[in-house]
């Protein structure tokens, strides 16, 4: 199962290794990973898409949260979130097909960021499915070379004012209470 995990981690050497280690120790493959610093330069945000055993999903979040350098870990798989990816796509194109390509690129709101006599390089952002669709179409024009950023996700409707979109659910308030059956 593809699990979408959003993390706030301390911006320290080894932090990424610790998070990746929790996944790799269990034999889970990381499908995509983005990391960059937040407004607070001491912190980084990470978005991970990993192929995870669905039963172990919730446990995984707790085990990542347990890491000392991890400030917060949120599972966004089932939550309302905005999830975007960026791709740079270089496609070879014959002179007569160039207008058609530009038209289709426009439908996807892709921008031309480099033009050469035999190719265009496009920049496009969107949900991963949108990127897949565009890349599929571009194969009709010529050879496609591309690089993708991997997903970045932010929870919708944050309950707090925090600009990073993390909900107020630190490990201090982690609860595992389930109602007793009566």
């Amino acid at each position: 199962m593809q699990q979408l995990i959003s993390l706030l981690v301390e911006n320290k050497p080894g932090a990424l290794m610790r998070v990746a280690g929790v996944l790799s120790a269990r034999g889970y493959n990381i499908e995509s990973l983005t990391v960059a610093k937040t407004l607070d330069p001491g912190m980084s945000s990470m978005t991970i898409v990993a192929d995870v055993d669905p039963v172990m999903g919730p446990l995984l979040i707790k085990q990542i949260t347990r890491l000392i350098n991890v400030v917060q870990a949120v599972d966004l798989t089932e939550s309302q979130s905005v999830c975007r990816e960026l791709a740079l796509i270089k496609v070879t194109v014959s002179p007569e097909m160039r207008p058609a390509l530009l038209q289709e690129a426009d439908i996807f709101r892709a921008k031309v960021v480099d033009a050469a006599p035999t190719s265009y390089t496009l920049e496009v952002t969107g949900a991963s499915e949108k990127l897949d669709a565009l890349i599929g179409l571009l194969h009709n024009y010529g050879q496609v070379e591309m690089i993708r950023s991997g997903a970045m996700a932010m929870a919708r409707s944050p309950r707090s004012n925090k600009s990073n979109g993390f909900v107020e659910a630190s490990r201090n308030t982690v609860k595992a209470v389930e109602p007793v059956k009566t």
Partner: protein, 576 residues
């Protein structure tokens, strides 16, 4: 402000944390530390292998509750520590390991004795550090002890580059913790968790307390006993929890799990309300998970939120320190007992009676033979002489399980064993650490002939430091637990389990200048043990026991706890 070297700052920082002793082994990059240690008040015990430094630090921590410290050089020194780190991680034991690292400018250049200690020990520790800036050293040491000893305790490693050790800086002792945004410990449970737990407990007709190492870590023995008394519920302990309640507590029903007592395993199978306190539903306790406590709702208390629901779904989960949680629970249970506790009172009394019946029906077997020493008899004799007050450090295998079954402890921290990792070679060095932490106590190192030989070089450390350990080798001439599994599950194809060529123990002991003896007849056992105890120094007692004796009860690996084997299978007649 005095200008100090990194090595001096390191040792001052350790002193500030209350460290009294370091178990270590020097090497190239730690030379600057050892140079300061030369005339430093900190006591250093030179072990004979770094792995044993980490085990000794664990034995120190397990028997005292204080943080154990070990020290090793870069490369092989650090990699040799790793088994002890993982062992401490599995059993949540607070130790701090200091390792030297090659100079910063050589890192990544495959320098002599360079290893990626930070990377290698990442998953072997609760947390680890690489120090490349001398000014960060005091704060990191302070943080390391904080992380090791708070919350769910565990091992922390601090890897220090040689240029930091030789560099100079003004020493600013760490005054208080710098904020650790990713690390907070919740000791006190939420009110709604406690109320849910109280409701859960009074609904129970057949409550059962399953308590483990968390009770010892949080020093909640008195609270646990009181909890059981208010609830009138039996207490079973895990192999990590032995001693958490005194052996003679009326509600104590011994250990549960793979080699647990009949009453404890039947109890957990029949209970309708399983109360896990500082436990992790380890597979050696649960057997086949879906057949474990099949009729029970579960209340799980643990300081680590990641434990709740990890292996078994908790109907009520309480995150907090067991001692804090039990105090609150006991108070609320007392307040509500009259109003709510009466409902299932009769059912609970009947349940307790049933537990007692199981205890009477199937106590641990007490085999005796006039001609050979049964291992169980050996454990009973040691137990008799230790009177519940001695520290018992064990290795891993059959003798560990027999000791767990037959030893009776008056209090916590007397039982030192490698529970989760099951690391052979642990017993002897761990006993050294326990003896150093408790110089006036009798410390038994009960080891098998296999594990003893893994740690044999430490006889030198023991002799050199005059550690008055009573080393008891339960010698069955075989790797007994592996042999037992080969007998039961591999059609008696005994493969690589014979431990022949065991040294002559009198000569071996004498070679180290300590006393030793071999005993092989039951009649001579008690006097030999008494002689060992009377000896002011170390004593090596080699006890030859029945080779083909198995540990029972036994839950076959992957089997249901209730399907435990109580005695050897009957021989099948040929032709049947």
């Amino acid at each position: 402000m005095r200008l100090m070297s990194g090595s001096q700052i390191l040792l001052e920082s350790l002193m500030k944390e209350g460290v009294e002793v370091i178990f270590g082994y020097p090497g190239g990059v730690t030379l600057p530390i050892y140079d300061v240690l030369y005339d430093h008040p900190l006591r250093h015990i030179l072990v004979r292998h770094e792995e044993n430094a980490s085990f000794a630090a664990e034995g120190y921590a397990r028997s005292s509750g204080k943080v154990g410290v070990c020290l090793a050089t870069s490369g092989p020194g650090a990699t040799n520590l790793t088994t002890g780190l993982v062992d401490a991680l599995m059993d949540s034991i607070p130790i701090v390991a200091i390792t030297g690292q090659v100079p910063s400018h050589l890192i990544g250049r495959d320098a002599f004795q360079e290893a990626d200690t930070f990377g290698i020990t990442r998953s072997a520790t609760k947390h680890n550090y690489l120090v490349k800036d001398i000014n960060e050293l005091p704060q990191i040491i302070h943080e390391a002890f904080h992380v090791a000893s708070t919350g769910r305790p565990g091992p922390v490693l601090v890897d220090v580059t040689k240029d930091v050790l030789t560099g100079k800086a003004h020493y600013h002792p760490a005054q208080e913790m710098e904020p650790m945004p990713g690390y907070s410990v919740r000791l006190d449970p939420e009110d709604d968790e406690i109320e849910a737990a109280v409701k859960f407990l009074w609904q129970a007709e057949r409550p059962y307390i399953y308590a483990g190492g968390g009770v010892i870590a949080s020093e909640a023995s008195a609270e646990l006993a009181e909890f059981s008394e208010i609830l009138e519920a039996p207490i079973a302990l895990t192999v990590m929890g032995l001693g958490a309640v005194p052996w003679n507590h009326p509600n104590y029903i011994s250990m549960l799990g793979m080699h647990g007592s009949y009453a404890a395993n039947m109890g957990v199978t029949e209970t309708d309300a399983l109360v896990g306190l500082g436990v992790r539903f380890d597979d050696r306790v649960t057997g086949r998970l879906d057949a474990f406590a099949p009729h029970a709702q579960v209340l799980h208390v643990d300081i680590d939120p990641a434990e709740i629901g990890k292996n078994r779904r908790a109907n009520v989960g309480v995150v907090g320190d067991v001692k804090h949680v039990l105090r609150r629970l006991n108070q609320r249970l007392r307040e509500t007992k009259d109003a709510q506790g009466g409902e299932n009172r009769e059912a609970r009394a009947g349940w307790m009676a049933r537990i007692r019946e199981w205890q009477r029906e199937h106590p641990y077997a007490r085999p005796y033979d006039e001609n050979e020493i049964k291992p169980q008899f050996l454990m009973e004799k040691i137990d008799e002489l230790s009177n519940g007050d001695a520290i018992v450090a064990v290795d891993v295998g059959q003798h560990q399980m027999w000791a767990a079954q037959y030893m009776r402890f008056n209090e916590p921290r007397l039982w030192v064993n490698s529970g989760g990792l099951g690391a052979m070679g642990f017993g002897l060095p761990a006993a050294m650490g326990a003896q150093v932490a408790n110089p006036s106590k009798v410390v038994f190192a009960i080891v098998g002939d296999g594990g003893f030989q893994m740690a044999l070089p430490e006889l030198s450390t023991i002799a050199s430091n005059g550690l008055p350990l009573k080393i008891i080798i339960m010698n069955n001439g075989t790797l007994g637990m592996v042999r037992q599994w080969q007998e039961l599950f591999y059609n008696r194809r005994y493969s690589s389990v014979d431990m022949d060529c065991f040294p002559n123990c009198e000569l071996l002991a004498a070679a180290y200048g300590i006393k030793g003896k071999t005993v092989d007849k039951p009649g001579g056992l008690e006097s030999a043990l008494r002689e060992a105890l009377a000896e002011p120094g170390p004593y090596l007692l080699n006890v030859k026991v029945t080779p083909e004796e198995n540990v029972y009860p036994m839950v076959p690996s992957g089997g249901a706890v209730s399907e435990m084997i109580l005695q050897p299978p009957k021989p099948v007649a040929v032709g049947d």
